[in-house]
Amino acid sequence: MFHLKNHVLKENLDLNTKDFNKQIDILVFDQDTVLSHINTALKDLSNYQFTLHNSTDNEEFKRMIKSLKPGIIISELHLNEVDGKEMLNYCRMVYPDIPYIIFSSHSCNKSALHFLELGAADFLTKENILALPATIYKVLRQSFEKHQIKEAKKQRWEDAQRFKGLIEHSFDPVITYNDSGEITYASPAIKRVLGYNVEEFIGTNVTKHIHPEDLIKRESKFKKLIQSSNSYATIDEERLLHKDGHYIWVKAIISDGRLIPGIQGFMTNFRDITETVKSKKALEKTLKDLTDYKIALDESSIVGIANLGGKIVYANEELVKISKFTGDELLGSDYRLFNSGEHSILFYLKIWNTISSGQIWKGELKLKAKDNTFFWVNMTVVPFLDNRNKPYQYIVVMRDITLRKLKTIDLHNTVDLLSNQNNRLLNFSYIVSHNLRSHTSNIQNLINYLEQTDDEEEKLEMMQHLKNVTNALDDTMYNLNEVVSIQSGTEMKIEEIPIKALINQVLKVLKSQISKSNAQIEIEVKTNLSVKYNRSYLESIFHNLILNSIKYKHPDRVPKIKIESRTENNFTILSISDNGIGIDLNKHKDKLFGMYKTFHNNNDSRGLGLFMSKNQIEAMGGKIEVSSQVDQGSTFEIYIKQEKPKN
């Protein structure tokens, strides 16, 4: 049994001792004479290299153990009065891992048992030296196995420490709990996230920490997890109650650990995502606010969005409503769709230049709806800029100001009317102070003479003058009365008057003047053109203007008179142009239409025609304009208000 075959030993020992030292020091506590016997005996264990050391002094022996750390100690039972028991006790206490073999010259079963009880690895008598290799092998094996167990234990402990550390120092908390929800473990991170100490958290119920509103979701997830074959379930967002009383947002993963030893329940690890959820909620709120703003804007204003090319890409209900176009008609169109003709191309160009440079444009515009009616808007165009501050689209926000605008226009008209009336009043005051008073001052003068002279002949002369002045005064009074009746608009009969027929009638009256001056008259008026007017006014106006053109003909040319018509902004405009001597408007424009104003030395001038015509035209709600160049000719334009289109 002790003669083990080398190869068996070799095999066994080699297989398991990869890291085990094969250089083995053996410390022998005995006479050196015994060393050669041991050496011989150890030859059977040729896979090992044994180095034998020996000592017979117990103090030296202790020092040698310490310095040598031998793999095996072989000791005599008693040596030099030293009790082997004492040495064994020492070794067992200080170096318990070193196998201690008693190799005794004495055989005593009682002692052997005793030593083995004290921890000796084996007890061998020297007679039985042949068994030494087997004993050594056994001891080495035991030592090796012991070593292995120790290593394994150490490894297990390290693993446990590592996993424990992983969990204990993990940033995110991990908890375990049993079937009824009672928490059986919580990692220290619970303090950071929920504010609890581990000890106070363990033993509480999971459901106590979850927001009531999230509990239902949690329970349904939990149920699914148990019923399904999945080992975990994810809860993306859940509110947990912090010890302080506020809720935090977490993302949680529940794992079924009922079959995992040491857990035997459920595991949940969760992450505090409060900040993420908060910013997400804030973003959601911002988005909602933006949506609300858009709704508010859409509800309250007329809104359109145009792309870089000015084409409409969005039109809200209000824009559809006011423009009377359908959404489909609006999309893809540009501003020209609404062009009312009120504003110049330059005006639109200015808007475009402003917004395409990234600036906001604000202003008022008159726009045209689909049914050709007009509406006024207060418009703000805001360019939306990309991160290089270049516009990528334009939002157009408009407010309907048609009513206000019409009122303003009405107000302007009223102001115009008042200032017209004021002008007429001033004109009247001028007439009184110059035209009437010139006569009365002459009368006063004449009477003064009559009183002072005794000369009968002179008296007669003065009487004659007095008669003339009185007649002139009467004429002026008569004319004034006519003007006043025009201005007060009494007995005004309005009728539909065909223009062409009326002009022909006037020309018939002026027949002799025309033929005398050889005047050529050209009429370019639409055959069916007619206006609503007072007939005698219109006759008088044409009469005066045509007569003026003949009166103030150029001495070097045959008079040519052209009568034309056109339409502009609710006005029919009749123009009378001539090639006469013209008027220096720089000098005379202010007085041209005044009463008794004449500008040429012409015996026929009474300074009444244009004054009367102007009054008649204005009484009909129109105006008269003049353009002229000295020596070239004059053009008078009569503006006749068309009937208001019915709203």
């Binding site: 001028y430 102070s433 110059h434 010139s438 002459n442 003068n445 002045v469 008794y596």
Partner: protein, 134 residues
């Protein structure tokens, strides 16, 4: 007393006739010349300018006249003031009693006074005697 020349610029023939009569009745040596409107007056005065003696001492200027009225005459006169070799005293003589006419006459420092027609004997006598206080 040296004889004076008075110039009437007015389109009212009757007024001119009566004024001339009045001056004649004063039995002074006063000469009277007249023009029908501002433009004719300017032309006439330019012609007379060759002999400063024949330029008038006093001008009675109407406001409301055809072709060139009193105010226009004043502007032309001022533009050519340095051409005239004689200082002429200018009065406005108008039938207008409108305040704005009177005020306007005051805006010309070359206008010495504003006479409201009719102009009677005493007024014209004072004028010629340079005793006018207006």
């Amino acid at each position: 007393m040296k004889s004076k020349t008075l110039c009437i610029i007015d389109d009212d023939d009757l007024y001119k006739l009566l004024l001339k009569k009045t001056i004649k009745n004063l039995e002074t040596e006063t000469q009277v010349i007249s023009f029908a409107n501002g433009e004719e007056a300017l032309k006439g005065l330019f012609e007379l300018n060759s002999n400063s003696e024949s330029l008038p001492d006093i001008i009675l200027l109407d406001i409301n006249m055809p072709v060139m009225d009193g105010w226009e005459f004043m502007e032309e006169y001022l533009n050519n003031k340095n051409i005239f070799s004689k200082k002429m005293t200018i009065y406005i003589a108008s039938s207008s009693i409108a305040n704005h006419d009177i005020q306007k006459s005051k805006s010309f420092k070359e206008i010495s006074g504003y006479l409201v027609k009719p102009i009677f004997k005493d007024t014209i006598k004072n004028l010629i005697d340079e005793k006018v206080l207006l």
